[in-house]
């Protein structure tokens, strides 16, 4: 009996170990393919860049006008700088719609005083149903004639964005986080795909980590890597996600996520699909998936693109506690969106989305952490107990860690040969080192946060969690 038990546990663990190794090999092959596609797409982007003089876009009357939507909740400390930074963006015709989502602090009064705002009689047409709007304000100062401030009852970020969409007047809407910093030319660069191809309905731009950078008057003036470990690890993660991931997904029209921090959308289509969904924490991803679905179900030719150059700088969490909350929320958002749109999984009707993107997000992004964690446990304990032999243990180590290192290092190299945003050699060396180190400990912690998200989702946790920000250093 004892022998049978030993044989049985041995078989189970070894079979599972083989499954995990197979899974990791599959994941790495997939990542490598995506990396190759991204590399080609970046190369094409850079080549096209040679023939693009952005001043022409800036000076043309044919450039589509953009409404920038900046939802804010309790942003009294940063709202003036945010609005000033948005008002200074290089773009021929743009309006800034700042939405005060029922802040409990002094956000509204601060902004009214600073920009000399006056309440208007402007009609609010709730094309998308939202919480009540308490007032629409414009500035008496001519230099702020393109600023509209909306005060509304608190309803969450998605509801605030929907109010912004209702109030906006222009054909393109740019959703941003009020506490992010857009580079001066970011809007011009992100609008370019809309000019290139009339089928484009949404474009995402790259988000980079501002921690450690020198910021003056709402602009990043010196790009540096943070001295702290946690934000620096996130730089590598963002490289992987944006340059090696989203760039490739955009190239095959399978991009499911456009970051809430920086995305540009066709207003008509956003209105048609009903705007942002306010009962999910992954409203940015959910909107993009719904747009895809709408176009595919109605045979509307469309494209969702990603551009690697227009930069939105954001402040990354600096402590494990805050980072954990953020990752937990992201994973709950992912789970929620995939459950809402589960119909798309392996559904040929949804083309690349149904057959590649959604399965990838379900099996690699969503369930990957669970499989990975079980792999660590099974192979680790199995080897310790002598059930798993050394070859299997080493193979597991190679496919899980070495490939991870290779992928991270490749992403850093891709950034270096394409955009080279960190000019100091010291930063590059540090990034390459971190690309190795993050696989020992940091990666496993993120796996745990993402697993915990399943539990929180099952408990019905809907909160964003408090996002403590240190604030951009001036």
């Amino acid at each position: 009996m004892m022998d049978f038990m030993l044989w049985f546990s041995d078989s189970i663990v070894n079979t599972y170990a083989a499954f995990i190794i197979g899974f990791f090999i599959f994941v790495n092959v997939f990542y490598f393919s995506m990396y190759t596609i991204s590399f080609g797409a970046i190369l094409t982007y850079l080549r096209r860049h040679m023939f693009c003089d952005y001043r022409v876009i800036m000076q043309s009357e044919l450039t589509p006008a953009v409404s920038i939507l900046a939802p804010a909740y309790n942003e009294a400390a940063t709202c003036i700088e945010s609005v000033n930074s948005l008002m200074k963006l290089n773009y021929p015709t743009a309006e800034v719609v700042f939405i005060n989502d029922g802040s409990k602090d002094d956000t509204l009064n601060v902004i009214i005083r600073e920009f000399d705002l006056v309440k208007t009689e402007r009609v609010y047409v709730p094309i998308i149903a939202t919480k009540p709007v308490r007032g629409i304000y414009v500035s008496r100062k001519p230099e702020y004639k393109n600023l509209i401030v909306v005060d509304k009852q608190n309803g969450g970020k998605a509801d605030a964005l929907n109010v912004g969409i209702n109030v906006s007047r222009y054909e393109l809407i740019c959703a941003i986080d009020a506490d992010s910093i857009l580079e001066d030319d970011a809007l011009i660069k992100v609008v370019k795909p809309f000019l290139d191809d009339s089928r484009v309905v949404a474009v995402g731009g790259i988000v980079r980590i501002a921690n450690g950078c020198k910021i003056e008057r709402g602009r990043v003036t010196d790009v540096r890597l943070s001295n702290k470990l946690i934000p620096s690890f996130q730089v590598i993660e963002y490289y992987r996600a944006y340059l090696s991931g989203r760039m490739g997904w955009g190239a095959i029209n399978g991009l499911l996520i456009i970051s809430g921090a920086f995305g540009l959308f066709k207003r008509d289509l956003v209105l048609t699909v009903g705007g942002y969904k306010h009962d999910t924490v992954g409203e940015d991803m959910e909107l993009v998936v719904r747009m895809h679905r709408h176009c595919l179900e109605n045979d509307i030719p469309y494209r969702v693109e990603f551009v690697p150059d227009p930069v939105c700088w954001t402040e990354a969490p600096e402590t494990l506690k805050v980072l954990g909350r953020q990752r937990n929320r992201w994973h709950r958002g992912l789970l929620d969106t995939l459950l809402i749109h589960k119909k798309m999984l392996f559904n040929k009707r949804y083309k690349v989305l149904g057959m590649v993107s959604v399965p990838y997000f379900v099996f690699i992004e969503l369930l990957g952490p669970v499989i990975e964690a079980m792999g660590y446990i099974a192979v680790g304990f199995g080897y310790y107990l002598g059930i798993v032999n050394l070859e299997i243990f080493l193979l597991f180590f190679i496919v899980s860690v070495i490939y991870g290192v290779m992928f991270s290092v490749s992403s850093v190299i891709l950034e270096e040969i394409s955009f080279h945003r960190y000019p100091r050699a010291r930063d590059l060396v540090k990034l390459l080192l971190l690309a190795v180190v993050e696989n020992f400990g940091y990666r496993q912690i993120t796996v745990w946060w993402r697993i915990k998200a399943f539990w929180d989702y099952a408990r019905g946790v809907q909160s964003w969690g408090v996002m403590t920000r240190v604030g951009f250093k001036k």
């Binding site: 040679m50 023939f51 000076q59 044919l62 589509p64 402007r122 009609v123 000019l195």
Partner: protein
């Protein structure tokens, strides 16, 4: 390190090339005015070109290719810096050193970026010999190649080539429109005739582009054609035509705009209202007022805005709308009276606001 060495070597070549080129470009000539006798002007450049060639051929054979690349690079850089007679000297030099034919060859390359660069350089070289080859590139599968080809043709041949280019194209991305509009608008009123000719294109996107350009130019010469044309085109171009007519601000458009204010298509009614607002004509106030009262919220807003721009009659109409007992109408009227700086609480003129 390696990169900086290459750069400094290139800089040193370029500096020597620039010196030699300056002698060619800025030497005094017996026939100084190229507009009087162009042939004589060109002919006298020959000895200077020979001298330049000898100067460049001094280098050993191994370095000649680098010098030649440097010459092309420096000359292309100079295209944006020189004008008039010096620009003609530069164009002649491109031909003399065979850069034009070399460039034409690159238009057949199988890499799109090489073809696009070839088109771009052909435009900078301003050489008419490249035109037939560039015309062929208007059918290229790559948008950037088509754009660079069209742009180069405009740069070389000027306003006369606008209509042929637009008639030849089968489609235009907005990016192409943005790029070409810059050159076309530079020709001002001279571009009106070719743009009117381009309205005959069978492709709505080309028609729409021509209409939009005419609207931006705002030349009233195009009004009769647009008025005649507006009924025979697709809704998307109708929409652009209405906007263009508004921008032109010619009273001859009023009957057509009034007709579109009653269109069954909500978008066309909205465009017509915006156009009416741009015309600021009191004769459209009555129609706009009824749109404000009876139409959908989107059109109400456009009509309200148009009324606020239609002078005293328009303001009277908005004040009158305040008392009609319809909450939506009152809100819209209030918004635009407020935006027009009208104090709605001030006493009204004797006899009230009667339309």
């Amino acid at each position: 390190m390696r990169e900086s060495t290459i750069e400094s070597t290139r800089d040193s070549y370029d500096s020597r090339t620039r010196q030699a080129l300056n002698v060619y470009l800025f030497s005094d000539l017996p026939v100084a005015d190229h507009t009087e006798d162009r042939q004589a002007f060109i002919a006298q450049l020959q000895p200077l070109l020979i001298a330049l060639k000898i100067e460049l051929d001094i280098d050993p054979q191994a370095r000649r290719n680098s010098r030649r690349r440097s010459l092309k690079r420096v000359m292309l850089q100079l295209t944006s810096e020189v004008i008039g007679e010096t620009r003609i000297r530069l164009t002649r030099a491109f031909e003399y050193f065979d850069f034009v034919s070399e460039n034409v060859e690159s238009l057949d390359d199988n890499r799109w970026w090489t073809r696009a660069k070839g088109c771009k350089n052909a435009g900078l070289m301003l050489h008419e010999a490249a035109l037939p080859y560039l015309e062929r590139c208007l059918d290229d599968e790559n948008d950037d190649v088509r754009i660079e080809a069209a742009q180069a043709m405009l740069d070389i041949a000027g306003v006369d080539i606008i209509a042929p280019i637009l008639m030849r194209l089968q489609g235009m991305s907005v990016w192409m429109q943005v790029r070409l509009s810059r050159s076309i608008l530079r020709y001002g009123e001279h571009a009106v005739e070719p743009l009117v000719a381009a309205l005959r294109s069978e492709y709505p996107v080309i028609q729409g582009f021509a209409v939009e350009m005419l609207g931006i130019l705002g030349d009233v010469k195009a009004v009769p054609t647009l008025l005649e044309y507006i009924d025979y085109t697709v809704p998307e171009v109708k929409h652009k035509s209405l906007i263009a007519l508004g921008k032109m601000g010619d009273d001859r458009s009023i009957p057509v705009i009034r007709r579109f204010l009653e269109s069954a298509d909500e978008r066309l009614r909205t465009d017509a209202a915006r156009s009416a607002g741009a015309l600021s004509s009191p004769s459209l106030v009555y129609s706009l007022h009824w749109m404000l009262v009876k139409d959908t919220m989107i059109v109400k807003l456009a009509a309200g805005e148009a009324l606020s721009r239609s002078g005293e009659m328009g303001i009277k109409s908005l004040r009158y709308a305040l008392d009609l007992g319809n909450e939506d109408v009152r809100k819209v009227a209030l918004q635009f009276l407020h935006e027009a700086g009208v104090d709605v609480h001030a006493p009204r003129a004797e006899g009230g606001d009667v339309l």
